[in-house]
């Protein structure tokens, strides 16, 4: 029984993870859900550069923490939902293959907003502030999304 369980867990991990890196015709999409606060002044070190850029626009935002992260391999035309916080998701569609400069065109459907289509360089994140909030008072946090496509080129 225990042997069966171990094999089952292993299969689940490998299957769910799709242990393989993206194929030549696939793009790996990474999505981060970031909760930003005006009261909790703790900043996840991984979000330091992000926090700096956000504070240029809104200095009242002082707390930055990673809520959820996800990734998946998508082919051209594929759409995938990525979990953010609670039941909120963002839909990501690969609209155009990466060009010679490694830029990728993605269409996203964030919470409470219609689609946004943009072209972005690979291996760097595009971010947006949503109008989705959680908590009240000093616990109130705003949801930010950061999305990245990689790798920058196909394998030789």
């Amino acid at each position: 029984m225990s042997r069966f369980l171990s094999v089952a867990v292993l299969c689940l991990l490998v299957t769910a993870g799709g242990a393989c890196p993206p194929g030549e015709d696939e793009i790996e999409i990474r999505v981060l859900a970031i909760m930003v606060s005006e009261h909790k002044d703790k900043i996840d070190p991984r979000l330091a550069q992000f926090a700096k850029q956000v504070q240029k626009k809104d200095p009242t935002l002082i707390g930055f923490r990673l809520q959820h992260s996800g990734r998946d391999n998508l082919k051209l035309g594929d759409t995938q939902k990525f979990q953010l916080v609670g039941k909120e998701v963002v839909e990501v569609t690969v609209n155009k293959e990466r060009n010679k400069a490694g830029k990728v065109v993605l269409t996203i459907k964030p919470p409470k907003l219609d689609q946004i289509t943009y072209e972005c360089v690979c291996d760097k994140y595009f971010s947006m502030a949503t109008q989705y909030f959680e908590g009240t008072g000093k616990d109130k946090e705003q949801l930010f999304i950061a999305i990245m496509a990689k790798p920058c080129g196909t394998k030789k």
Binding site: A16, G17, R46, Q49, G70, I116, Y118, S127
Partner: protein, 211 residues
């Protein structure tokens, strides 16, 4: 008159009475006895004269100090009898016995034993003898690819790479991003776009605020 003797009273009680060391009950008993034995008052007076309440006596008394002659005399009586301790042959037998006992214990008991920690078992002994006893196969980091991960569970990961990777969140700079189409929210409002994406360090989109 058949005067009662000390048979009726513990012999040291009269002295204790004179020194004030008795309990009230005991004192009453002594006083009753003295009333019936008035001759004993003389003895009581003598006791009290030597007791601690006679401060004049004790202040005047001091122990006699031996003279030098007395010291010499005493020392001369002691010195000839003072001898250095010598170990007799029976003492040597005792030592030999101790050495023999130690040697017996040294060779008879098993080798040095760890006091608290058991030696680790030989892994070869744990090899499965049957297919049913095969060890569990654990996936390595290369075997697992985490697709979705709530950050609250990130610290619980045993294998697998965080979906974010090891790096920092680095935003695309100016010139590295272009907005091709932006939809509105449910109220028909459009998000704020950078006035000039090429003028901002990291162009971002801010959804319209719910006022």
């Amino acid at each position: 008159m058949n005067a009662r003797r000390f048979d009726d009273l513990p012999p040291d009680w009269l002295a204790a009475y004179a020194d004030g060391e008795l309990t009230p009950t005991e004192r009453a008993r002594v006083e009753g006895w003295l009333a019936q034995n008035p001759d004993a008052n003389e003895l009581l007076d003598a006791q009290e004269s030597l007791g601690p309440r006679n401060g004049e006596l004790w202040d005047a008394v001091c122990p006699p100090t031996p003279s030098l002659r007395q010291w010499d005399h005493t020392f001369n009586q002691i010195a000839p009898r003072t001898v250095q301790p010598r170990r007799g042959w029976t003492g040597w037998i005792g030592s030999v016995g101790l050495v023999a006992t130690a040697a017996t214990l040294l060779f008879a008991l098993p080798g040095p034993q760890p006091c608290c920690v058991d030696a680790p078992p030989d892994i070869r002994d744990l090899s499965p003898s049957t297919p049913e006893e095969e060890p569990y196969l654990m996936a390595s980091t290369e075997d697992v690819r985490i697709i979705s991960l709530p950050e609250a569970a990130a610290s619980l990961l045993i294998v697998g790479e965080h979906p974010m990777g090891d790096g920092l969140l680095v935003l695309a700079d100016r010139g590295e991003i272009a907005f091709l189409g932006v939809g509105n929210d449910l109220a028909g409002r459009f998000p704020a776009l950078p006035d000039d994406p090429n003028a901002e360090d990291a162009p971002m989109i801010w959804a319209p605020r719910d006022e």
